[in-house]
Amino acid sequence: MNPPRFEPLAAGGAAVPERAAIVLQRKKIDALNITILKGGGFGVGKWATDHGFRLTPDAPAVLDFYAKRSPIFMAVEFDSKRARARGERVGDSIPVHLVIPTSRPWVPLRILALGTKPTHAVDADVFLLNDQAPALLPIPRGAPWIGPAARGLNLRVSEPASPELLGDLRADRGMDWLPKSGMWLTYLQVRATASQLRYDLAVDPSGRGRPSPVDAGLAPPAHAAVTASGHSLWGLWVGVGILAMAAVAVLARERRAGRMAV
């Protein structure tokens, strides 16, 4: 093992080039302060620490893991004062509706284990709505596809979405784009330990049956970060509640006023 070589440094110099994250959007939703960022693992992590987020020891590795796949991150701050003023209580959830144009959707699961011990139990529910039955990677237990099943990922429902469900979802604000029929519902349960959760969920909704091992975190990206494509994605709507929070759960912030969002 040889020590890395560095150029001569001035006293107190920088170990890495400054690549600051760019703030793309800020939004307040109920008691949440949401910031959409674009940048690499270091830039996004530095932005977070500069803004009072306390990152756990595994955060640098996890941020780099995701930055190689997408440069877009979302930081969420929970404002306990605002929550108290709104009358919200422990256990209440705040749904967040995200529109992410991409032809290669994937669901971040590994991040659910951020900052936990290897034996920590991770429970989450993932709902997918697609034009047709999607192909998934890693293969969940209970799926009809051939291949080794992922530990801790279980397929519970795979069926045409009922008109009642679609009608109920269409009734939510901003959801009238959803078709009244012809959608496919997939429901997955994550019941894993943190040490098992070393993957994300790649989704191929095209019908070609080829979800990306890179998007699933099972193979390293060949090139730089995957960028969001310009193609609109109306065929995918990724759940509510838990799933949104899974996507949201990038960074935790603790404020003097109270506890933070995860």
């Binding site: 093992m1 040889n2 020590p3 890395p4 070589r5 560095f6 440094l9 006293a11 107190g12 110099g13 920088a14 170990a15 890495v16 400054e18 693992g41 270091f42 830039g43 996004v44 992590g45 530095k46 977070a48 620490t49 990152l55 756990t56 020891p57 595994d58 955060a59 640098p60 590795a61 941020l63 780099d64 900052g115």
Partner: protein, 141 residues
């Protein structure tokens, strides 16, 4: 005889592995101090194993490539335990071998390895030592 030869080969292999795992260093032409560069990445020291003769004074140049703050604390197990279990303070470098390294920054600290034995290395920000941010220095007589 064969067993003895196998033992010698194993001992030689172990020595090679130990040397390969240790940091290379060189004397600074200005002050003659040994200088060792240590990179922090993903909450780990690279390298994390060192070996020096007793009485050696080493200048450590620590490059923190992580977006979070880290510490570089050299000392005995007692020192490591004390820093781990006391209220966290920032280490400004006034104590040899103890320094805080901000995100993306480079810091230097100098330490003299006095007597033969093992000196430990660690970061004691919450959860970091348990996560595995540690190393050791073998001081030979």
């Amino acid at each position: 005889m064969e067993m003895l030869r196998a033992r010698r080969v194993a001992a030689a292999a172990a020595l090679v592995l130990l040397l390969a795992g240790c940091a290379a260093s060189r004397a600074d032409p200005l002050d003659g101090l040994r200088t060792v560069h240590v990179t922090i990445r993903w909450t780990r020291f690279h390298p994390s194993l060192f070996s020096f003769p007793d009485g050696t004074t080493v200048r450590f140049v620590i490059h923190n490539t992580d977006p979070i703050e880290h510490e570089f604390i050299l000392g005995s197990k007692r020192v490591q335990d004390r820093v781990e279990h006391t209220a966290h303070l920032s280490h400004d470098g006034s104590v040899p071998g103890q320094i805080t390294v901000p995100p993306g920054a480079v810091r230097r600290t100098t330490y003299t390895f006095g007597t033969p034995g093992t000196v430990l290395l660690g970061c004691h920000l919450p959860g970091h030592y348990a996560y595995g941010m540690r190393g050791s220095v073998l001081v030979s007589g």
